[in-house]
Symmetry: C2
Subunit: 338 residues, 2 copies
């Protein structure tokens, strides 16, 4: 593996000159530069980024810290699509990407700061951590630039990107209300996610606008899990047979809800209308296909990276970004005939 010295020796110049020639400095004779370039190529020289980073104190590397890079994530693809966005943007801007995945076991061993300091990432994007995660506090204290996904918190070195969950939820429920539904249940996600709270607010806001009182008995906790949502839906519909429509805080939970409803002999959408949230691939393939609120997970990752690199390069500007949702009408909702 050729080093800069090898090139220098062969070219009969000093390493400094090689360094400057290859890095495009102007204060070097064009002829020398060409010669050096040729030799570098001949020797298949490529710079040792470790050494360079060590002296420059810059790694041009960002980290994507994911809590739970697990196979179950296949169902909603949230992490994957965020990753695609991060990867694309990082690539365009010339940053390397290291993937850091963590779980509670690993967190025992290393603090957030250790994790980040050791790997020498210049900044980091956090995805999938819960609001009660111990890392979150550390992040806010730390002065390593960081962008949070779906956690609306800010500090000098911390920004976030998220979706307008409240508005999305509101439009979902308004859609149901406009179809004539009066008794609308909600299967929410767990409370350790900001988005759950925001989506609940949107649900309430929509009801309020139409003068329908909020009934907390109509809201169940599906924990963002398909199975949990299935059982909760069963119980909810059992206890409150007057419910004719359901807003689920995720498509995956909507899948569970659909299954529960089918099991109870309810026809969809005649007997029960269901709206999801996310617009995951599955939602287009289920029977009935799911009316849902689309959010752009790729863009979430892309914007997070842009925000982060802006911070790293000292571009002052907003450290937050809120993306819009899109309403997607499919087969799982229809007019209330009761």
């Amino acid at each position: 593996m050729a080093t800069i010295r090898d090139v220098a020796k062969k070219a009969g110049v000093s390493v400094t000159t090689v360094s400057r020639a290859l890095n495009g400095y102007s204060d070097v004779n064009e002829k020398t530069r060409e010669r050096i370039k040729a030799i570098a190529k001949e020797l298949k020289y490529s710079p040792n980024l470790l050494a360079r980073s060590l002296v420059m104190k810059k790694t041009k590397t960002i980290g994507l810290l994911v809590s739970g890079l697990r196979i179950e994530g296949s169902k909603d693809n949230f992490t994957y699509e965020v990753l695609c966005g991060v990867n694309d943007c990082a690539g365009e801007l010339g940053y390397e990407l290291v993937l850091i995945s963590t779980d509670s076991k690993k967190q025992q061993e290393k603090t957030y700061n250790q994790l980040v300091q050791e790997r020498k990432v210049e900044g980091i994007i956090l995805q999938g951590i819960k609001t009660d995660d111990p890392y979150l506090e550390e992040v806010l204290k730390s002065d390593i630039p960081c962008i949070l996904i779906d956690i609306p918190m800010e500090s000098d070195s911390v920004g976030y990107v998220t979706t307008d969950n409240r508005d999305g939820a509101k439009s979902a429920v308004t859609h149901l209300l406009n179809l004539g539904h009066k008794h609308i249940g909600m299967i929410n996600g767990h409370s350790q996610a900001f988005v759950s709270q925001e989506r609940l607010e949107g649900y309430q806001e929509a009801l309020q606008e139409k003068g329908i009182p909020f009934n907390h008995l109509y809201v169940a906790d599906g924990a963002f899990l398909e199975e949990k949502a299935e059982s909760e839906t069963g119980m909810l519909l059992d206890k409150h047979p007057e419910i004719t429509a359901l807003f689920c805080a995720s498509d995956l939970m909507a899948m569970g809800a659909i299954r529960a409803a089918k099991k109870m002999g309810r026809n969809l959408p005649e007997d029960l209308s269901i709206v999801g949230f996310d617009n995951i691939i599955l939602s287009a393939y289920s029977t009935p296909s799911l009316t849902t609120i689309g959010q752009d997970r790729y863009q979430l990752g892309y914007e997070a990276t842009k925000l982060l690199t802006d911070m790293l390069e000292g571009n002052k500007g907003s450290k937050r970004k809120v993306l819009n949702t899109t309403f997607i009408k499919r087969e799982s909702t229809s007019e209330n005939h009761n």
Copy 2:
């Protein structure tokens, strides 16, 4: 950011001692070690991995080179699940993971060797590259340890992990034959994938065993694309209405095939049986749900990482691994009544 010198100074010892103490060498007084450890903690010292790697010439980092980390991958999740497996295994063995994604544009700029040398990965896993990819040749020549996913090629520094595609395909087609189907079409993937060839062989082998002659007109190229598969299926069934069953080389293509068949007014599975390959999430949710050949993508990534780290650590042993498939019976296949 505290360095080893800071710790040394505060502890009143040399950097050497600190290094040895913290790295668990035995030739250091236990009391000194404890004192140093305490001070390191107090100073929130964590070693600079760049510096360490530079001197040790070891980075404990592996790369996952993916061709096309794209949002479309959401549909089959191949890359994501492989990534999960790689990440888990790498984590368990104490390796860092850097994600390298490439496309034809990037390949113009940098050769494979440059890409890998610069980042100082000790070894690399290649996923999703086609058989005619220029990188492939470089890989085989290069002496950087590498594991290929789904490309059965070996050299001193190159191994591979794949699925028994031939056997999987064979069991799919045998299943159809056992159901009494005589005219079985195949929607294959593009020819720049080894798996396509292997699955075709399995298809042929199954036919042969039952004494049914191979008809190349029954095989269409769906290019692993849902839409292409849809149109190809339409054409195939148009030209050869005698076909009563279809083996698709991927579930995604099977989704396209299902759609085409439905459009032509064929009832599934009564008028047409379909078997897919992969067992992607969608295959369980489609209507009808898809009979398919399951392959374990997570394990593919996991085993690839194990193979790679074995090579890196000098453990001699097999440099290849072939995983088995599982047959999954669902609703898309039934007996032939024609």
